[in-house]
Symmetry: C2
Subunit: 341 residues, 2 copies
Amino acid sequence: MSTAASRRRPATIHDVAREAGVSRGTVSRVLNGGHYVSPAAKAAVDAAIRRTGYVVNRHARSLITGKSDSVAFLLTEPQERFFEDPNFNVLLRACTQALADRDIPLILMIAGTEDERRRNLRYIEAGHVDGVLLVSSHSGDPVVARLHEAGVPVVACGKPLGQTTRIGYVAADDRDGAREMVRHLYATGRRRIATVTGPLDTPGGVERLAGYRETLAECGLPADEDLVVTGDYSRASGAEAARTLLARAPDTDAVFVASDLMAQGVLDALARTGRRVPEDIAVGGFDDSPAALSSQPPLTTIRQPWDRISAEMVRTLLARIAGEDPATVILPTELVVRDSA
Amino acid sequence: MSTAASRRRPATIHDVAREAGVSRGTVSRVLNGGHYVSPAAKAAVDAAIRRTGYVVNRHARSLITGKSDSVAFLLTEPQERFFEDPNFNVLLRACTQALADRDIPLILMIAGTEDERRRNLRYIEAGHVDGVLLVSSHSGDPVVARLHEAGVPVVACGKPLGQTTRIGYVAADDRDGAREMVRHLYATGRRRIATVTGPLDTPGGVERLAGYRETLAECGLPADEDLVVTGDYSRASGAEAARTLLARAPDTDAVFVASDLMAQGVLDALARTGRRVPEDIAVGGFDDSPAALSSQPPLTTIRQPWDRISAEMVRTLLARIAGEDPATVILPTELVVRDSA
DNA sequence: CATGCATCTGTGAGCGTTCACAGTAGAGAA
DNA sequence: TTCTCTACTGTGAACGCTCACAGATGCATG
């Protein structure tokens, strides 16, 4: 036997209409913008809604409109990254908020495995959500194509790589952020500047590396492939990369690391070899994650405007749902100077 | 103009019925368990479903059943905690997964402010979700009472404090975890064992402190209130608490900190005063968060079984929705010995 | 004074399901 | 044979909403 209070039958649009002394149609119009409704009728309906505690039944509405008034936040990353990377949190939270402001629920979907991917696609393709906020950085992700094919509005976070289909996305200016950091390292007198890149099948990996290369050239420094090591965004891979780097080019005096988490790994490895940061070697990170503050020493890094990214993702997705063309939004990054460089 | 492929009209139960040469009713019965359906009819319907790519329209179903087949994950915490605390991530992820296994979408709701709280309650009370996974640790949270009053099935994460209403919850055995840690500190020879508690309006704060006190008594150590300092689970508060502690009782040789994050703060403060961990002073944390591994030195801590907690939350919520009484589930914790104690 | 137009209002149909009910067929019991 | 019971199937009526349409009113225009 349930101990919960019994739920009363909730008020319907009929109840409100009767209470306000108007017809269903008028109540419906008030609910949907209030056009073609006299001020008196609107006032009566508003009052009736307040008295009855009426809330629209979204299922009934959705059944007829064919829209669900909800969007999915779809994460197609291996599990670990979700947890190690604090960016996801910020993104998820800000998207939830931006949607909540418009009274649109966010449905969280995590597709780490092939099986989960299938299940989520099935759900989305069935039209159960109006659009998808896609967080998936790996190139050749079949999800993007499938969603596009199904005609589901999608906005990606970060440029989707290796896609032939045109799809809207919002991204930080990775390339310019990398440029800014390398310029900073150069400006503080460093001349043997290495980099630890992210995976090269991710836009962040590719673009930040490109920015690094461009700036080296711009500063007249030689392009030395010994100075480029690839990581996978994990802390461990950062440490590993630092060891590789030190073995290859012991005279490295600065390293631009494509994520704060990897930068922490780099700092660990550097500390173990007895090098002082920033005296012996400068370290620059990327992301301005919480980890950047708690590392020893605090990390000079590039801040990504996650709040704005989320807000823009939601805005462009809703525009896309409303029928606009896919849009691309690139947002500026910001250099945050702390002690490590 | 939209560049997206046009969506075809999705198949309805009618289409499937025609295709299979049976009636709507029979298709519906197949969809809902297949009782009272002949094997031949079932096979025909299954084939027709496959051919047409039919997926039920959840809105139509929900409209008539009055169930939404979705669950809310409601977080009523100030924003910062959500991000600083990695437990939330694990919890969220595992709940999403456990629900996905049953084909139930999770709707993420974050209610940091009063305004958001109101909005989310409104949504839930309107019956848009079948139940709520509640993550809210502060006592006297009005949300709990409101949800109970509305008759919405709820399962909380952690014991809801200061509630007169009986509500189901799933929690780790905080008290026993604390006991285990303090016993470990005692067993390694510590005799002036202090504690940094969590906020005392949270179950974790209260229970872990109780476990600490019990074990002190059990070991025959005097209860010295100078050794008890309260934090707020943040890293900064840990550092602050450590300074207070050292000033009050410089002879402290061990400290049980009620969260890993605060323990990191404690380690920071200790390092600043030149004390060695664990030689001069042992530090025990709680949570076994990723931070525990990356701290210097790696933290001895208490692991909470988040996977099991999530699974149990989902299981008991679904049972509650199905009409069972509220249940309480307490899961055991585990001592993880690393270098700090 | 008729006509047109803009503003407002009510009505009926229908969205895709489930559910209750009526009905059929076949097996076994009386 | 007739009756009962079980297994199965089809049909109409909802569920609560929106949308198209028809009708009504008031005001400016010809």
